[in-house]
């Protein structure tokens, strides 16, 4: 068996570990077009903020490839896949054969067609090189465009680095796809409290400057700046898959089945490039987050090595971490849909909210199942919501407990027991067999 893996990040590395857990002998070749191996993109904002040195950005030791007997081709780009001859072509012209291929090419930042967007001093934040560019940028005034997770983390990092920062977002709130209005306004206050100017409902319309960017015109005002971070979103790197004739999903990611197989024999896809079934939304989604890339890489790797492992589906989850001095977590659906009177296939959507001065908790229920959870302030038990969403259990009379301060795992054990067919893992069984 010959394995080839395209990509060197979360999904790819996890797939290597999964393959090796089953098959220690076959050859694995890995291609990644970035020179720096084994670093975690999630940490780039911390690097920009000068909180983490480069050597702490790795998520695996530098001996990883050696330890796992992987032939790594770093800085080498794959330019074509031929599913008929089962070969890939690298940018140095070499062809390599595979029996099993994983496409874990991730995504790339979207560059909007704003006049002047090609001026110097305007960067996305995705690669190590981008982080270096931002880290080394001269000047004191920064603008971050797009208040998604990466935008918010970037603006706080730049502030911590000592810059003056404006955050520009064309929609009406920060983290518009991650938090609802209430949670978002708590977070916004925190961001503003750090001294960042937050401009929502404002569109970036033109960059000015002779060569290098010196100012930005938005739909409302002009903002002088020496540095711009563009973070309006990412789009999956599907070009290889597309030209090889693989099926592409309706949202523009590579279509995969529940074993992470693409439409072509022997070819799998995982991570930010893949379009998967979302458990909470009950439809296709590209959940471009680290935990999903890891899970999918693992499932792909095990199946590539001949195991039969099914992916139960993806689930979006975001945490704002320690960035704003108050934890905030959002899982699954952000807001209950209001279309069709909030009814879908006979099931009612409902939101249950509890808020106090500095905490906020909201559940989105579909029928009797949780499909979304938002927690601000008090977040230690957030994972209980994650597992209840993942396992799709009816929470019935447990809603008041789930909303209360008293929530803890042992209090919901009766519920877990009721659905013991869905909680077959040993870690749950051990607790159920304790005489309770």
């Amino acid at each position: 068996m010959k394995y080839i893996i395209i990509g060197g990040s979360a999904a790819a590395i996890q797939a290597v570990e999964a393959v090796r857990s089953v098959d220690q002998r076959s050859s694995i070749e890995l291609f990644a077009d970035e020179e720096t191996p084994l670093f975690s993109r999630v940490l780039l904002p911390y690097y920009v903020a000068e909180e983490l040195p480069k050597k702490l950005l790795n998520f695996r030791p530098l001996t990883f490839f050696e330890d796992h007997e992987v032939i790594s081709h770093l800085g080498v780009r794959i330019t074509a896949i031929d599913p008929d001859t089962r070969t890939v072509t690298a940018d140095n012209g070499q062809k390599h054969e595979y029996d099993r291929l994983l496409i874990a090419t991730g995504g790339r930042p979207i560059v909007p067609p704003i006049p002047g967007v090609d001026k110097k001093g305007i960067f996305p934040l995705k690669t190590m090189q981008d982080a270096e560019n931002i880290f080394n940028a001269q000047g004191k005034r920064a603008v971050v465009i797009g208040a998604g997770s990466i935008g918010v983390e970037s603006c706080i990092s730049l502030k911590r680095k000592g810059m003056e920062v404006n955050l520009v977002e064309q929609l009406g709130r920060v983290l518009p796809t991650v938090f609802d209005d209430q949670a978002s306004s708590i977070i916004r206050k925190r961001i503003e409290g750090l001294g960042i100017k937050v401009r929502t409902g404002e569109k970036a319309v033109r960059f000015h400057g002779n060569g290098s960017v010196t100012s930005l015109s938005t739909s409302e005002r002009d903002i002088d700046c020496d540095l711009v971070v563009m973070s309006i979103g990412v789009t999956p790197n599907i070009e290889l898959a597309e030209s090889a004739g693989l099926d592409i999903g309706e949202l523009g990611g590579i279509a995969v089945n529940d074993r992470m197989r693409t439409s072509a024999a022997g070819i799998f896809a995982a991570g930010d490039v893949a379009e998967t079934q979302d458990i909470a939304l009950d439809k296709k989604s590209i959940n471009a987050i680290w935990p999903c890339a890891v899970e999918q890489g693992k499932v792909a790797g095990l199946n590539m090595a001949g195991k039969k492992v099914l992916y139960p589906g993806s689930l979006r989850m975001n945490s704002i971490g320690n960035f704003i001095g108050q934890p905030a977590i959002s899982i699954g659906m952000v807001n209950a849909p209001v279309e069709e009177g909030g009814v879908e296939a006979g099931e009612h959507y409902q939101e249950v909210v509890r808020s106090s001065q500095d905490t906020y908790r909201k559940l989105v229920l579909k029928g009797n199942r949780i499909v979304g959870a938002t927690l601000v302030g008090d977040t230690q038990k957030a994972g209980i919501f994650t597992v209840l969403i993942k396992k799709q259990v009816n929470v019935d009379e447990f809603v008041p407990l789930l909303m209360s301060h008293k929530l803890n795992f042992m209090e919901i054990l009766p519920l877990i027991r009721r659905y013991s067919d869905k909680f077959k893992e040993i870690e749950y069984k051990e607790l159920m067999d304790t005489g309770l």
Binding site: Q14, F409, I426, K429, E430, G435
Partner: protein, 151 residues
Amino acid sequence: MEVIMVDQRKCTGCHQCELWCANEISSESKEMPASFSDEPQPVPRVFVEGKQFALHCRHCPDAPCVEACPNGTMSRDENGLVFVNDTTCIACWMCVMACPFGVINPYSTMKLAIKCDRCRNMGYPICVEVCPTNALQLAERDVKAFPASKA
């Protein structure tokens, strides 16, 4: 691997395990009552919950916290124990969001995810040692008794 098993019938909810866990593992002074006034406050890694049940990290064979951690800080040692490598934790709370049992404490003051590592560096878990009713026992994980598990 050995895990801590809890006999619910014996747990009286006396919180000795919590108290000693905080004192032995996370306090500076390691002596009560001096440790009560340590800064930052010592925190336990075991929680007496519900109708009296001491809950720890279950060291899941397929641990969601390990999969969620973006930099390998949450990892598994050669004995199967899941632990936090304190020096690299960035306090992103991704693990907190993933742990189904809610036993990871997002400790903001120290910017550190805190959880039970079954006292992997001490030889013997302190909670098991101090539990006055033997409700806590160290036992070999009985993989055969629960064949449904993917372990």
